[in-house]
Symmetry: C2
Subunit: 484 residues, 2 copies
Amino acid sequence: MTPEEFRQAGHALIDWIADYRDNLEQRPVRAQIKPGEIRAGFPRQAPEKATTAAQLLHDLEHKIVPGITQVQHPMHFGWFPSNASLASALGDIASAGLGTLGISWESCPAATELEEVVCGWLRQLTGLSGEWQGCIQDTASTSCLTSLLLARERASDFSQNRGGLQGQQQAMIVYTTEEAHSSVVKAALLAGFGDHNLRRVEMAPDTRAMRAASLAQLVADDIEAGFMPAAVVASAGSTGVTAFDPVADIAAITTQHGIWLHVDAAMAGSAMLLPECRHLWDGVEAADSISWNPHKWMGTILDCSLFYVRDVQHMVRVMSTNPSYLRSSVDDEVRQYRDWGIPLGRRFRALKLWYHLGIDGIDSIRARLRRDLENARWFADQVAATPDWCVLTPVALQTICIRHQPAGLEGEALDRHTLAWVSDINQSGVAFMSPSTLDGRWMVRVSIGVEATTREHVEALWKIIRQRAQSIATNSEIEYDIGI
Amino acid sequence: MTPEEFRQAGHALIDWIADYRDNLEQRPVRAQIKPGEIRAGFPRQAPEKATTAAQLLHDLEHKIVPGITQVQHPMHFGWFPSNASLASALGDIASAGLGTLGISWESCPAATELEEVVCGWLRQLTGLSGEWQGCIQDTASTSCLTSLLLARERASDFSQNRGGLQGQQQAMIVYTTEEAHSSVVKAALLAGFGDHNLRRVEMAPDTRAMRAASLAQLVADDIEAGFMPAAVVASAGSTGVTAFDPVADIAAITTQHGIWLHVDAAMAGSAMLLPECRHLWDGVEAADSISWNPHKWMGTILDCSLFYVRDVQHMVRVMSTNPSYLRSSVDDEVRQYRDWGIPLGRRFRALKLWYHLGIDGIDSIRARLRRDLENARWFADQVAATPDWCVLTPVALQTICIRHQPAGLEGEALDRHTLAWVSDINQSGVAFMSPSTLDGRWMVRVSIGVEATTREHVEALWKIIRQRAQSIATNSEIEYDIGI
């Protein structure tokens, strides 16, 4: 494809994207298709002939888009917000156009240095001190794995340079809660700690926040038993119910025992752009690593997960590679981001943060976050004030966990009812929420915060929820579809 | 940013990208800047005010582009080709515009199913059997780490569900060569095997390919000593000298002993699009995992690394997470790519492969790869036929390792001369090559294969190389700058 052909096809694509984003509200939120339906639209055999960009754009509209759950739709309240602001998308488009290669400072000095710049900006904007240095990872899952690798090598005094974990005499222990994101357990297992060396610390029953006293006891017990406490992963805004572990209290314990503390603020990092929310991660300065995702609520298009550490030298010692074909004469003067994570090759992801902050501006981003917090409070108030409805957990940010519990409905019957009404709404395509479990029973998470979601959308959602749930509860003729 | 503002800024950006790509040849290949220079162009404080897309585009041109080493430049012969075909860039732009969220099939069925489709296409196009199933990872580094985690859990019968590597009684061993990519050692260390359990298998001195007989001996010795051979990483087209380990001979050993075999074909996978090259990885069907990077020579814009496995069930058992907030009623019928790798959230990367194959077509991609192979043979012939010049290793694909060795120049003096001429050319910005070491002495890798590189560019390179090296060798007045 020549630059001139690209120019023509690019203009058509930009127009299509602008129209697509403009008309998003008219599409169903959840993809209205069955497994295999999208795949069936494409030949099984690789195409031997080229086609045109116009044909691909036509197929994009007719064969791909029907298979997209519209997370940018104002009636999307599922999972967590995954905003892809158009300003940040523009930065991502610039990155695609440049076609750079990020394997060393030398291969693209601008990618390295702009990443330093924007990570510094986001550090300041979230109130972190100059002790922290950051980079962009793909996801908080990867950041969490990286943090546990750093913890492992600190606790074992660089066992990787000897027999690895295989030569480890004293078992190293990782602590987190059941409320932590699934990627935390995954990371601990992939890092080789083993499930038996993973402690699920007790949580406060109302907030599902880690109980620091329980952590202290477990650590003491493990030391007594001859084990080595190596890492604590604290959640700042857990995925299930947006629980906040008490970072300051936890940090007091980790500092005392030299345990690595990773703060997983994947969701709540965006909230830290608001000074009034920062009390939620009080004590974070005493952690060893932090990750949070601008690609969630803040709205810098996926993938954009920030990872901050204090001891860069330790990280580089664990993660570095320095083969001759990557060496250059300025190695001592520059940052080599390949030594800050797993992949060698890196995209120019700093551009999307730069574009996002540059075009939207931090003021409008902050105003939008505050709007969402207010909408969440309004929604929670409506639910709490309505008979047979309940808000199940404290609303720390913008996610509300609810249940409709008419008199007499309990246990599995209640589960069936919950899944019936949320499934009914999700399948209709008019709105989307995530069913989830709390203490073994289904509930519904309403996560407010899509860029396009206004108060009117939240009001419409509440009306739909009440109507569907109450209609299903009073009409036994309706066949329950307990698919989620 | 509204869709209409995006439309306007997007058109301007598309025009800028088309012009940029069209005029690339007029820019210096290597960024002509010093460490810190790009960073200094930006404020240290986060901007409190928004700006315009037009201003950012101006800054992109004047503050960012000077810091880019132009790997799309026809005179770029460094590292390996990192082609970002405009067709694939268009697919990446579509991905940015859609703003999808890939955390489960349900969150974007199209992203999952198109990835299945294109991975199937590339499987066929590289001659792999239907035994393989694939996904897209960011880089071959991540694929290699994933493969060693799979190997670790197979050899240890899922130690992660018990005490992890910490409870491992019988040390598990990983085998590779010194010629393997730096990410292989990094992956083995991160996976927890430990450096002492990493064997560097002897290589044939001429080709630097792994000696299967040496591998067999090491494996036998380790078994004898009570260790457990767990994984072999074979290189198909190593980074240093494009060495090809003998996969069939290695596979005979790994199959016999139940050792996991990962084939790292990061570079050479592109060559397997050509049937005449497939003998280079003969025996690959007996491997357990394969990775290769369309984002290298083939030209699907970074990041696009394919990872194929045969035992999907094993992989999912090692990598899976299934929290309630991600469960859906179709989980048994669909592929959940979050269980095929480390990150949970995934971009819609299949679009760029679909666009690349769709617009450029496999025929033109194959023709271009054959053009590069011919150019490499021509270049190698010129070097070999010229007095004082030598081609140091077999030219298996498109990378030629050369040295200028005038009579009397040896040892460190030869190193200084090599670094002097390559550094002189690289610093001039007229062309770029990667210095590297071979048996402890510097040499220069000329890696041909940028999409825009024609025979004329290769002829120009050879002329420049001869002139600079010979001029430096005969003019002792020139100050040697041994910076690389």
